[in-house]
């Protein structure tokens, strides 16, 4: 009996969640950890099995669909719970389960002495279930289930230490901003269904070219709405404000959700709907521009942050910008490739930061770190690899994926986007090495008691770091450029991205220009590194002097362009005031008032009538007589 290939993968974490709930505390810390990691590990193995089964199939028909049941059917609308495995989702489930497993192992050590250990792993498993459903969904609605599911888990995990008001606030902010994105996603889905007649990916993409006029308003609006959802989930420019605050959650959460998996959901969705986006070039432009803008914008803010996790958070936003840029210029496979490599080294950076914070007993401020390289050898080593990878130095993963994005941006004629990308690369290299130096090199600015029990993290935390380090070193080779039919990764994803309507093929660059582009991106990285080294290592005082000279610029960056305060004033407060007015004035005074007014009017009228009851018999007799007179009059007239 062959086990159901795909649907078991999300089912395992769900089963683990159920077991956590049922068995409760009887499991104890060891049992909970075992169950949680076991479930994700098993899911990873299953994913491997499924991917191999997929790879075994001929390249043309590399899609596996598994329908579980019909979920909803009303009138001519019907949606069923069904899973789709194709090269794209294969990559995603491998990344999600693989990195997820490593992070689970890491968080055993990290959360070892936390009171609600069980609740943490329960939420993590729930997150894995939701993410896998999102990635494996065969229709928009099931993807939406995963979409909001991960939103919920990020809300729960950010606000994990709920006693801290800032954590609870950040959790709420994350959920609400995600919900605004989901608003767009929902409306996009409705438009697609209204015109496409189905929400199933394969059927919709088959019908799409006939139903939607290429470049027509409907498809553009639908895709823009979907992209709004993506920006909400992947923290791109208007809706990125929640990610930096999401650092309130425990570091493994930041690593898993806000670096490796959840935030990539937006990129995956855009890649999945490449057929639709290709039908609406305007939307693609928007995606590219927003991606580039976010990349640069977030990178600049990253420069001035002093909290180690906030720097990494802005770096994530910026790298996601790169992925969207790739999708925007049509190089969807490059975007996914960068997504994979990014999740390796960014997860590693976060976990490394986590072990640094752990070592310094929860000290997150870069200004009170330094010279840790000797005392935290493993952390330092792995973080160094990751930092080199992200800056895009040749042998490491980051170089291959970022370079491919920049070259495809250049190839498809988006010069502005390419230029922004290169500038972003420089700044990325700069702030990454600033973080590296402030954290590991330079003089030790540790506080006294942090100095006391400074210790290297436990092997259970170091092992995942090492694995991730290897991956971020080797991960890039699968995308070796300059191969005849495109590199292995591209060939793997070709069947997925081939299906769409004929897309203007990017101009085939001559080898010369390609080598030149490679050189440009490498030099960009090196420039960034050198400036960081010179500023922060050789002459720290120049850093401070520079900082003082450009004081205003620096404060601008430190306060994140006051975006949060701006949003708060422009949106949150007026909304509150408006609804306050709406309630106190409109509801209570107008609507309720009219109701009570009717009541009082009646009362008033009856008071007037009461005057006639004078009590004197005389008046009653008078009315009687008047009545008779009136009657007689009537008879007179009508005879």
């Amino acid at each position: 009996m062959t086990l159901p290939l795909i649907s078991l993968i999300p089912a395992l974490p769900l089963a683990a969640v159920a077991l956590h709930l049922l068995l409760g505390d009887r499991l104890g810390k060891r049992g909970t950890a075992l169950l949680a990691c076991g479930a994700v590990g098993a899911a990873f193995l299953l994913a491997l099995r499924a991917v191999f089964a997929l790879a075994a199939r001929p390249e043309a028909d590399r899609t596996l669909v598994e329908i579980v049941t019909t979920w909803m059917r009303a009138g001519d609308f019907s949606v069923d719970i069904s899973f789709l495995l194709d090269p794209l989702s294969a990559v995603m489930i491998l990344v999600v389960t693989g990195v997820g497993f490593l992070i689970h192992v890491y968080s055993i050590g990290y959360m070892a002495h936390d009171a609600s250990f069980r609740r943490f792993f329960l939420y993590l498993n729930l997150f894995m279930f939701a993410m896998l459903t999102l990635v494996l969904a065969d229709n928009f609605l099931l993807m939406f289930v995963g979409w909001e599911g991960v939103g919920l888990c990020s809300y729960l995990l950010i606000g994990f230490w709920y006693e801290r008001p800032s954590a609870a606030q950040a959790g709420k902010k994350a959920f609400v901003v995600n919900r605004i994105g989901d608003f767009g996603f929902l409306l996009g889905m409705l438009t697609l269904f209204a015109f496409g007649g189905t929400l199933n990916f394969t059927r919709l993409f088959a019908v799409a070219p006939h139903v939607f006029a290429a470049g027509g308003t409907v498809i553009t609006i639908a895709t823009l709405l979907l992209f709004l959802g993506a920006t909400g989930k992947s923290a791109q420019i208007p809706l990125y404000v929640w990610l930096p605050d999401a650092m309130e959650g425990p570091t493994p959460v930041s690593a898993l959700i806000h670096a490796a998996t959840m935030v990539t959901a937006g990129v995956y969705m855009v890649a999945r709907c490449h057929v639709l986006f290709r039908l609406a070039p305007v939307s693609l432009e928007v995606v590219a521009v927003v991606g580039a803008a976010t990349a640069l914008f977030a990178a600049t803010i990253g420069l001035a942050q002093n909290d180690i996790k906030r720097v990494l958070a802005y770096s994530t936003v910026s790298q996601l910008g790169y992925m969207f840029m790739a999708c925007g210029v049509g190089a969807f496979s490059a975007g996914i490739f960068h997504l994979m490599t990014h999740s390796f080294f960014k997860a590693l950076l976060f976990l490394g930061a986590g072990s640094v914070i752990h070592a310094l007993s929860n000290e997150q401020d870069l200004r009170r770190m330094g010279a840790l390289s000797s005392r935290l050898p493993w952390t330092h080593g792995t973080m160094l690899v990751a930092t080199l990878a992200i800056t895009g130095l040749p042998p490491l993963a980051g170089f291959f994926s970022k370079d491919e994005i920049l070259s495809s941006a250049f190839a498809s004629g988006h010069f502005g986007v390419w230029l922004v990308g290169v500038a972003g690369a420089v700044i990325t290299a700069f702030y990454m090495f600033r973080l590296y130096i402030l954290c590991f090199r330079g003089s030790s600015r540790l506080t006294h008691e942090a100095e006391q029990h400074l210790h290297e993290s436990r092997p259970s935390m170091i092992a995942p770091l090492v694995v991730l380090a290897v991956l971020s070193a080797v991960g890039g080779w699968v995308g070796m450029p300059f191969q005849a039919g495109g590199h292995a990764f591209e060939r793997w994803l070709r069947p997925v991205f081939e299906g769409g309507p004929a897309f203007a093929p990017a101009r085939e660059l001559s080898h010369g220009t390609e080598w030149a582009l490679v050189a440009v991106s490498v030099t960009a990285g090196v420039i960034g590194i050198l400036t960081a080294l010179r500023l922060y290592l050789q002459s720290p005082q120049t850093a401070t002097s520079l900082a003082s000279r450009y004081a205003s610029l620096r404060t601008l960056l430190v306060n994140k362009y006051w975006i949060d305060e701006l949003l708060d004033a422009a949106v949150v407060r007026p909304f509150g005031a408006f609804s306050g007015w709406l309630w106190r004035f409109w509801d209570v005074v107008i609507v309720d008032g009219t109701v009570n007014a009717v009541g009082y009017a009646l009362e008033g009228a009856s008071a007037v009538l009461r005057l006639f009851q004078t009590g004197f018999v005389g008046t009653y007799a008078l009315f009687l007589a008047l009545g008779v007179a009136a009657m007689l009059l009537h008879f007179l007239r009508h005879g």
Binding site: Q613, T614, G615, F616, V617, G618, A621, L622, A625
Partner: protein, 103 residues
């Protein structure tokens, strides 16, 4: 007996009598006089009954007068009892000084 009294005359008389009764009720303050005026009105009605009975050749008019009388008698008895009681409580018989029924 020669000519018979024309119906309209009796009715006119009954109407006048009725109106005088009404005026008496409205104008006078003394409960007793009001009572008498009511009696007048009742008799006006009787007259009308008899007049119609006569002109329509049927006895019903007169029988009805008979019933009216019994009612009037009962009414006077009860009315006067009330007035006597009223007088005991309020020392007055004037209608406009009594407004217990004020709503």
């Amino acid at each position: 007996m020669s000519g018979v009294i024309p119906l309209s005359w009796s009715l006119a008389l009954s109407a006048t009598l009725f109106v005088i009764g009404v005026v008496g009720v409205l104008v006078r303050r003394n409960a007793l006089v009001i009572f008498m005026s009511i009696e007048l009105m009742l008799n006006a009605a009787n007259l009308a009954f008899v007049a119609f009975g006569r002109s329509l050749q049927s006895l019903d008019g007169q029988i009805f007068v008979f019933f009216v009388m019994t009612v009037a008698a009962a009414e006077v008895a009860v009315g006067l009892a009330i007035i006597v009681n009223l007088f005991r409580l309020r020392e007055t018989v004037f209608v406009d000084e009594v407004n217990l029924l004020k709503g």
